[in-house]
């Protein structure tokens, strides 16, 4: 079991490891289910963006200077649309400021249509060590429904190519789609697993507010699987991945030993991450306090503020105790390793032993003297469980 030191990170004077999340807000096309901070790439000036990222990195450094940086995550949007030299420049700026740990994990999210071989090689040369590829489905009709501009064959080709270039490649898929039966998903997932990936992120389709899908769904144009079907799909997914040597390490993430995403694990465990770019969120330790930062969402507004003030952070405030313990459970319980009871006690969350036992008997928690660990069944009802665990 991985050691868990969420609150010790927060409350003890030694600083938690540092990660950097960098948001690239542009995509070639906007998918109808997506509620990320995304924009079509229009009149984007690479020089201007490079300068803005540099400025914000320097500001972030002034706020949290202790390095080295353990992980970097280029998220989006579609950061595979970034010019490889910009990626290289950003990484060397990070290295100049904090220092990059020698074994740093550097992830970049890629879309199958913007990942030609030459570009992947350039990204690798720029320092990217891990590619997360948005495959979404291996069914062409489903890809069309999801508004994707690539075919299943394109996605598989991109994946095979990426594996030749990077040591760590992950696939994202969306399941529990309208009309998707257990059998359909079994076949599709089997095809994915047949590629023997080292890491997969398997998300059930969620209808997010303010998306085209939300309007269509509300208008009754399509329906998503009901609770029981979605639970069946999830459970089958867990079984198939485990059998293929890719057990879950988090609610939606599966990896072979040594291939889990270190960046995300660090943030689930309560590590520090600096949010760079429009709409990026950050968490950083500052003495006893833990600051939460949010940058301006709109790219132009963010750019303008960075140019005027050196950073685009619109919010920067210390979390109170309740917010901290809420985040500890919200993030920590997602992990298969759970949350240390000692950290919970420091955070002020008490779970009476009889309650712990009752939840174990109900199959929601796993037995453990040291940790609060959701069972696979418990992970499936995590939102409800967390609401129940937190003092109201």
């Amino acid at each position: 079991m991985l050691s868990n030191n969420w609150l010790s990170i927060v409350l003890k004077p030694d600083l938690p490891p540092l990660s950097i999340y960098l948001h690239w807000p542009f995509c070639a096309a906007i998918c109808p289910y997506c509620d990320f901070n995304v924009h079509l790439m229009r009149d984007m000036q690479p020089q201007q963006w490079r300068a803005a990222y540099f400025a914000e990195l320097q500001y972030a450094f002034s706020q949290r200077p202790q390095g080295p940086v353990q992980t970097v995550f280029f998220g989006g949007g579609t950061p595979s649309l970034m010019p490889a030299d910009m990626v290289a420049d950003i990484l060397s700026e990070i290295n100049r400021l904090w220092g990059l740990a020698p074994d740093a994990e550097i992830t970049l999210e890629a879309n199958p249509v913007s990942a030609p071989q030459g570009h992947l090689a350039d990204l690798s040369a720029a320092g990217i060590t891990r590619l997360s590829l948005g495959v979404q489905s291996l069914d062409d009709a489903a890809l069309k429904f999801l508004g994707r501009t690539h075919s299943a064959a394109d996605a598989l080709a991109a994946f095979r190519l990426a594996r030749e270039v990077f040591a760590h490649v992950s696939l994202d898929l969306i399941y529990a789609r309208p009309g998707q039966s257990l059998a359909m998903w079994r076949d599709e997932l089997a095809c994915v697993l047949a590629e023997t990936p080292d890491h997969v992120s398997l998300y059930q389709l969620t209808i997010e507010p303010d998306t085209p899908f939300h309007r269509l769904h509300a208008a009754g144009r399509f329906a998503v699987p009901d609770e029981d079907s979605a639970a069946d799909l999830y459970e089958m997914t867990q079984d198939m991945c485990a059998a293929a040597g890719l057990p879950a390490y988090e609610v939606s993430n599966h990896a072979r030993d040594g291939h889990a995403c270190r960046h995300n694990i660090a943030s689930w465990r309560g590590g520090d991450y600096l949010g760079i770019g429009p709409g990026a969120h950050g968490r950083l330790s500052d003495g006893q306090a833990r600051r939460a930062t949010i940058a301006l969402k709109a790219p132009q507004a963010w750019l303008a503020q960075v140019e005027a003030q050196g950073h685009g952070w619109a919010e920067d405030k210390a979390l109170d105790d309740e917010e901290r313990r809420t985040e500890m459970l919200l993030l920590g319980l997602r992990l298969v390793e759970g949350v240390a009871l000692s950290d919970m006690a420091i955070g002020g969350i008490q779970l009476p032993p009889e309650r712990h036992l009752a939840l174990q008997q109900a199959g929601i928690l796993l037995p453990s003297d040291s940790h609060l660990i959701a069972s696979p069944q418990g992970r499936l009802v995590l939102d409800n469980l967390i609401a129940e665990l937190l003092p109201s």
Partner: protein
């Protein structure tokens, strides 16, 4: 000062929504009571809740000045009454203050149940009645047919009826002329000692208690010392006046007039509707017979969702009762719901209105428990006990028998829905007394136990007749019934606020229906929840709410956690709208929703 021969007092009566208040609008407008700018639709429906629901709850009195075609000036005192059966007592006292009535009938609908109920009341007090056929602007209006119906069903001469559209204003002059020429003036002796009927009273923030009276004999003057004959309490009159509908003070109210007075009376409770007001120094010999006080017939518990608001709820109730003596409350404690009040109402609409006013005007979230009627329990030791709350039911071995209130219901329904309505009445333990026809409409008379009607009978009646049936009732008597208390257990714990009293023969069906309903109302939890209905210790129905299977956010990374935290806060807010029973959260509206039956 108007001589009595030039006074006309009348009530506007009708079935719900047939246009009483709209007619009142036109009469006020045409006689110049309000300018066009001051006018609004149903201007006499002043309460928010009246305006929103488009119904009249409280009767309103207005004085109009009208110069008739004979060239004479008349004083018209109009009382707009509510149509809904829950407020029948308002009609009753309004009629007592007048000599005549305008019977409004919607010419597109015809005679309905409250048309009959109200017109019979008017006939009982010897009113002259002018039939008014309203809504003639509607394409579906059929005046000849409706006139025939009025003659056949009510036995009222329609020779002098008036066709109008209260909406467009058509025929309003004719109504005014009919009032003057067809309705009798009041009689009364100006020289005699004051004798006035207390018609209504309410609390006004500026004036204190305002009392509406109809003067029978004598005069009421500012500065006069008066006495309430029932209590003997005396007061000094400090203001006398009328509503036009704006308040207008005057020096005197003479015999036959309707108006208000104030007299530094502290509480509405110090005034009794139907009481006789007389002079302190020269009392009249005989008091008026008075009215039966209105009796609450439906009881339920009201509990604050947030138990810390109990005292606020008490204050809110006390304030509402100031203006509504027909609403009763007393403190109640429930094992399930904590501190609250057992409240008595005139009917379900009355309940709903009070509840809505508490929630809106006082901002208190409420849990309402199952409405119940008043049972009379004959105990084995020979004593009697009134039971307002099923949770208070004593041990059955101590009860000899239980009596429940019955009603006489009249239902008017188009022929094609008769079958469905008969079935509904039979399912509710009804006994048919009479079935006759007025054209293609069946007129049904049924005896029904009130407890079968109180909750959703009216909704069901409307739904099985597609809205075409109308319904009216009077309480008749108490009868012994084979009644039992049904308890509901959620996760093996009895929830007292869900217990009901049911007829033994129906218990199993009701139990099953309630368990099924609760299954749909209580959200899934982390564990499975059995729901049982039981008579004594015997379980008669059972359902199980399966454990929650999936409730998890698919994606939650560092950038999502702030938003997720906010969602969680919202979820906690939602949880506050639930009540915890053991480990189970029950939504606050489940206590009422659980009782709804689809039959």
């Amino acid at each position: 000062m108007t001589t009595q021969s030039h006074i006309r007092n009348f009530s506007i009566i009708a079935h719900i929504d047939h246009g009483k208040s709209t007619l009142a609008d036109r009469l006020i407008q045409l006689t110049g009571g309000l300018s066009a700018r001051e006018m609004s639709e149903q201007v006499l429906d002043t309460m928010d809740i009246e305006r929103e629901r488009g119904i009249t709850i409280k009767a309103q009195t207005v004085r109009l000045e009208y110069t008739a075609k004979d060239g004479e000036a008349y004083q018209l005192n109009l009382i707009d009454t509510p149509g809904h059966v829950d407020f029948a007592y308002e009609v009753n006292r309004s009629l007592a203050a007048c000599e005549g009535s305008l019977l409004v009938v919607d010419a597109s609908q015809g005679v309905e149940a409250q048309t009959l109920a109200n017109v019979y009341q008017a006939i009982d007090v010897d009113h002259e009645i002018v039939p008014i056929l309203n809504k003639v602007d509607l394409p579906a209006a059929d005046c000849d047919r409706v006139r025939q119906q009025i003659e056949d069903v009510i036995g009222l001469d329609t020779e002098n009826s008036v066709n109008i559209s209260a909406k467009t204003g058509l025929g309003i002059e004719d109504v005014l002329e009919a009032i003057v020429t067809q309705l009798p003036p009041p009689s009364g002796d100006r020289a005699a000692p004051l004798k006035a009927m207390l018609v209504d009273s309410w609390y006004d923030a500026y004036l204190g208690v305002v009392v509406l009276v109809r003067v029978i004999d004598g005069e009421m003057n500012r500065g006069q010392k008066i006495r309430m004959m029932s209590s003997g309490a005396s007061h000094l009159v400090d203001q006398v006046g009328v509503f036009r509908p704006k308040r207008d003070t005057m020096a005197t109210l003479g015999p036959g007039e309707i108006g208000y007075f104030t007299a530094a009376i502290k509480e509405v409770a110090d005034t009794r509707v139907g009481d006789t007001v007389t002079e302190e120094r020269r009392p009249c010999d005989q008091a008026l017979t008075g009215f039966k006080p209105s009796q609450p017939v439906v009881f339920c518990g009201l509990f604050p969702t947030d138990s810390s608001e109990f005292e606020d709820l008490r204050d809110a109730m006390a304030k509402l009762r100031l203006n509504d003596a027909s609403f009763e409350f007393e403190m109640e404690t429930s094992a399930a719901l904590g501190f609250g009040f057992r409240c008595g109402f005139l009917g379900l609409l009355h309940l709903e209105i009070i509840r809505e006013r508490i929630e809106r005007e006082f901002d208190i979230d409420l849990i309402t428990t199952a409405p119940s009627v008043v049972y009379q329990l004959a105990m084995t030791d020979g004593s009697m006990m009134e039971l307002h709350n099923p949770a208070d039911m004593p041990d059955v071995v101590k009860i000899d028998h239980i009596d429940e209130p019955w009603i006489n219901a009249s239902i008017l329904v188009p022929d094609e829905y008769l079958g469905a309505v008969l079935k509904l009445c039979e399912d509710r333990r009804g006994r048919q007394r009479n079935l006759s026809y007025a054209g293609s409409r069946a007129m049904l008379e049924y005896e029904l136990p009130l407890n079968e009607v109180v909750f959703d009978f009216y909704d069901r009646l409307k739904s099985v007749s597609r809205g075409y049936a109308s319904f009216d009732y009077q309480i008749s008597e108490y009868r012994t019934g084979n009644l039992v208390k049904m308890s509901i257990l959620v996760n093996a714990e009895p929830v007292d606020a869900l217990s009901t009293i049911v007829h033994k023969d129906n218990a199993e069906n009701r139990g099953r229906a309630m368990c099924e309903r609760l299954k749909g109302l209580i959200p899934r939890h982390l564990f499975k929840i059995p729901i049982q209905a039981a008579l004594g210790g015997k379980v008669i129905a059972r359902e199980t709410i399966a454990a929650l299977r999936k409730d998890v956010t698919a994606k939650c990374y560092g950038g999502d956690v702030s938003r997720k935290r906010k969602l969680l806060d919202k979820q906690k807010e939602g949880k506050k709208k639930m009540r915890q029973f053991g480990r189970v959260d029950i939504p606050q509206d489940a206590f009422i929703q659980a009782l709804k039956m689809d039959d």
